[in-house]
Every structure is written in structure tokens, then in C-alpha cells.
Amino acid sequence: MKELLVEIKNLECRIGDQEILKGLNLKVNKGEVHAIMGPNGSGKSTLSSVLAGNDNYEVTNGSISYLGEDITEMNPEERSWKGMFLAFQYPIEIPGVSNINFLRTALNERNKYFGKDPIPAKDFLKMVAEKSALVGLDNKLKNRSVNEGFSGGEKKRNEIFQMAMLNPKLSILDETDSGLDIDALKTVANGVNKLKSSENATIVITHYQRLLDYIVPDFVHVLHEGQIIKTGDKNLALELEKKGYDWLKTGNSIN
């Protein structure tokens, strides 16, 4: 019996007076990889932001539960402490804050939440060495300011490095493939695959089938106008690659 990790029920949300998600339903079990595809403006990035708790978006209806707990109103840091991770489509630069200081602060804040002591420097550095090897992150980047002056590929790699350090239960990859050349794509996908276990799950948001050659999904969902209009296996992604989205738009049936 698979264990339910996250369940989104009839989720509606808006930014300003623009409705974006219009009754979205999704269930993700531990050990699964879900791909979410869809045309521009269908609400893919909104979904990732809302899952992570970005309060620019107002949830007007529906709920998100995570490990059996309703987290619809929970703040982003608490979601993070409980194991949710978002790899940003456009990772943010924080000048003057070194990558490792950033991560150490993040880990220690989480430890504090769970009433644990701060991570000892030695253990932390050992972990940094292990995890950066896993995603092939350049040694120099660890001491540089967070994402400042990083190339597109370096930024994405850094996201996966952070993901490895925080060891989340639910990872949401928001267009992690955009701006990556094929070699970088392989390294990043390889990192994600190594982190996969029966205890965690991944939601991959992407425009292109290409990434799914490397991170193979158990389910592929098509998002259109704020709803999931079709669900299939990995072959659905191949079909979309050939036919585009138009053939699905007319039916508007929820699978």
C-alpha cells in the first residue's frame, strides 16, 4: 500500500483579481515521480509557488494536505522544515551571503524547529563535500555569494545541491531544465535520480519531454487553464511532444 504524501483538493487561487488555478486535484504518493506539463500560462509555476506557500497568491478555495496535515495556511519556512523543497525556475541572488553560510543557516533553523542542536561544523563540511560531489558543483561556488554571478547552469546545479543538503520529502522542480545544455541537463537529472527513494517524491514541472528521458515519471499530467485535464504515463509526454496541446484543449475532460 502506497503512502500518501501530498493531496491537493479542488484548489483555486488567484493573484490580484486574476484567477489562475481553478479547481486543481492531485495526489502524490511516496516513491513517485509526477510530471506536470502544459502550455504557457496554464498555471504550472503558480502551482509550485502555492505548494511552497508564496503569499503573493491567495488560495480562495480547496486545500493542500501534506503527510495528513492541512498546510493550506502554513508559512513557507514551516513547510520547508517539514520537508518541502522548491527548485526555483529563476534562482535568486543574495549578494554578500556565501552559499555555505546560507545553507548552514537553513539547516540550523530547521534543527531549532525540531529542538535539535546546531549542526557541528565538521559534520556540516563533510555533508557539503558529499552532496556537492553528487551534483558536480564546482568547489569555488560553495564559498561564493548565493547565485551571484553564477551562469544559468551553475544556478540550476546549485538548486539541486541545496536540495541534496536539505534532503526533502517532496521536491518540486520548476522548469529546472530551462536554460540548460544537454550535458548540464544530464548532470542535474542524475543528481535528482540519486536522491530518489521510496520515502520521497518529486514533482517535475516542464515544458519539454526531453528532461523526462532522464527523470522518468510515473505519471504525466497536463495542466490547462488552471485544471489538470489529462493524466497518463510517460508515453503521454511523448505524445504531447508530437501533437502539441491543442488536441486536448477542446475536450476539457478530467481523467
Binding site: G53, P76, S80, N101, F102, S145, Q162
Partner: protein, 481 residues
Amino acid sequence: MSYTEKQLKEELDNKSYEFGFVTDIESEKAPIGLNEDIIKLISSKKNEPEWLLDYRLKAFEIWQTMQEPKWAHVKYEKPDFQNISYYSAPKKKKELKSLDEVDPELLKTMEKLGISIEEQKKLSGVAVDFVMDSVSVATSFKEKLGELGIIFCSFSEAVQNHPDLVRKYMGTVVPFTDNYYAALNSAVFSDGSFCYIPKGVKCPMELSTYFRINESGTGQFERTLLIADESSYVSYLEGCTAPQRDENQLHAAVVELIALDQAEIKYSTVQNWYPGNDKGVGGVYNFVTKRGICGYRSKISWTQVETGSAVTWKYPSCILKGDYSVGEFYSVAVTNNFQQADTGTKMIHVGKNTKSTIISKGISSGKSQNSYRGLVKIGKGAHNSRNFSQCDSLLMTDQCGAHTFPYIECENSSATVEHEATTSKIGEDQLFYCMQRGISEEKAISLIVNGYAKEVLNKLPMEFAVEAQKLLEISLEGSVG
């Protein structure tokens, strides 16, 4: 979100000013008001020589003819100079031989400020000259410094014990004719610190002074005179806290630094005087004249982290008189709520091949106004001199203001002057990114701000850097709206 605006506000109100306590010690106060008799009273209380009384009286005469400066980008109600007591000393009962005899109330105050003398003595590394209101009450490490010939004492003691040094250098960098507040200070200064480093001596520890305005309605007028003789080195720390008060308190200090040939002075300030409450009531007026003069191949470096005071008017400056001398100014100025700061520096290049660096980081929050005002002046004889200035502003809200007023006067065509400026707003996306990684909003703000100010914080001595970071955190709590 579980962290609501209301919670933020409550937390701010409760935490508003950590050091807002008043020490209950009997103190001896001069009658309020300012006239020649008061100045004579101060001078006689301090048993000053004739020449110093003359100096005070001349300064007072000049001050009466001067006008309060209006050019700064600040608005405030003019202090009533006749409604201030110009002298306040904790009542002395008898000579104290050891700490056990010190008033326990006073010791408690020091403990709250985190500078208990016992601890300081044990931990070593920092010699503390503690100025409580106007009179210095405790000095440590004096003996150790004495062995090297270093003089580090209160200004009043220096007047008694080293009158020749005081007379030779006092007023040479900031004459009493310099400006309104320098003249006022010269007339009524109460006490302060004095430091002399002999030729060729590298001071082995950071010298440190804590100032504190304690007596209600007392203006405080300190004077600091620091002389680094040829080829000597000193690092001097100045830290300030003041208890919470409803009426505004005036603070007009004068700091003079003299770096003789090949000497180096590093002067660091962390200032968190009471900035007033979130309605803009109360707070310290801080009108300070700080200036240093450099001899041949000498160097003066000012580092300041300013988070306090309701109104600040302050320009630590360098006169680069000697050839090859170097002036530096590293500043972080934070304003929140209704605080106003007009601060910056003046770099006056006189000698050949002189070099100056200005790094100014302004952080504005709430409804505050934060201005950088800087002058780089290259004199006719300042061949091949160089200046680099960088002025950055960080805005935390959309109701605050950041202003930059850079002035450049160049009279020598072989000089190189560079100026860079940036303004940025702390980003919601930066905050969300941190929060997604499990870093709470408050912590994220502190992280981002400390990152922004890192270039300056790195210039502070270790023990100060930690305090300064904490101070930035406290000053900006709940400030992103």
C-alpha cells in the same frame, strides 16, 4: 501566514529598545541653562588650568555669534540650549580602591550593557574606559598600557596629568571656530577620552570606550583626543548605548585624531543611541564633529555602524596633509521608523600621492530618511592623488527615503576620482527564497542586510563585528512591510 502584521507590531513594541533602562544613582547636576558662570562652574569643578577656561570662554563667545547649520537633509525641533544641564557627575562618596567599592547600581548597568569590568579584566584584550554621563568611573588595563608608555585615560585626567600634550594638540584638527556644535562642545565639554601612543609603539590591544547618556535632560558633550606618534599603531573602538527617554537629548561630541608620520589609527564606532519610538517621539540628537589629520605616509581609517539616534549629523573626515597618506571611511548607517541620518565623510587631499577610499552602505526602513553626504577635495598640490567612492542604498519599505549628495572639488588634473552609486530594494523574491529554504523572515532580513553590509562589517575588529551584526538584526526587526 501565521506571522501576522499584528504580531510583528506587538513584538516590535515589546522589544523596542533593549537598553532602555535608567540607573538610579544620585547625581550632581549643574543648574540648567548656559552662560559664562556655568562654564566657569564646569571648569572649576574639574579643577582646570587657566588656559583651558580661556579656551572654553572664547569658544562660548564665538558660539553665540554662530548660526545652527541648516544644510543637512534633516528636520527637527531646535534644542533649547537654555533648558539643558551642562554638567552631571555621579556623586562621589570616597576614593575607590577596588571594584567591590563601586556602586552596585552602576555595576548592574555595566552588566546590562554586557561590559562588566570583572569580565573585561579576565577576558583581557580590551581595555575599557567607561564614561557614565560625564565622568569616567572605571578604567582598566591602565597599568599594562603604562608599561609601553601608552596613555589612555579620561579627558579630565589628561588635563590634570598631561596638560602639555592636551594643550599642544587640542583644537588643532577641529578648532572651535569650525562649526556651531564644535564651538558649543569646546565651551561646555564635560569629559571624554584621551589617548597617546608613543613613537614606534604598536598598541597591543583594542582600546575601547563606552559612552552612555544617563541623566534625564542632560546634554552630553564629550571630547576625544587621540594622538598616534610617529610610526605607532592603534585600534580604537567606541561603542554607545543610551537609556530610553521621551524628550530629545542632545549629544554634540568632538573627536580629533592626529596620526603623525607613518602612524596608523583605526577608529571604529558602533552607535545605537535611543532612536525614538515608532511614533517618532524621543530619541537622541547626535551632532558630532569627527576629524583626523594624517602626516607623511600615515593612515586613518574610520569604520562606523550607525543604527541609533533620532537625528544624526556626522561626517568622520580625513585631512590627508602628508604625502602618501591614506584615508578610509567605511560606513553602515541604518535608519528605521522616523529616524533621520545625514552622514558621510570628507576626504581632503593636500599632500602628493594621497589616497582615499569611501564605502558607504545606507539602509532605510520604516518612514526614515537616510542621506549620504560626502566631499572629496583634491587640492592644488595633491599630485597623483586618488579617491574611490562607493555609495550604496538599500530600501526596506516604500515609505522611506535614501539620498546621496556627493561633492567633488578637484584642483589638480593628475588626480583620479571615481564615484559609484547603487540603490536597491530588498526583494520579496529574496525573502521568499530564504523562507522556502527554512529561514524565517526575520532571520532572512538579517542575513540579506548583513550580506549587503559585509564589506564594511569585515573592517570591524572581531568582537565588534559580532555585536554590530546583532545590532543590525535588532534595528531592522519587522521592518519589511
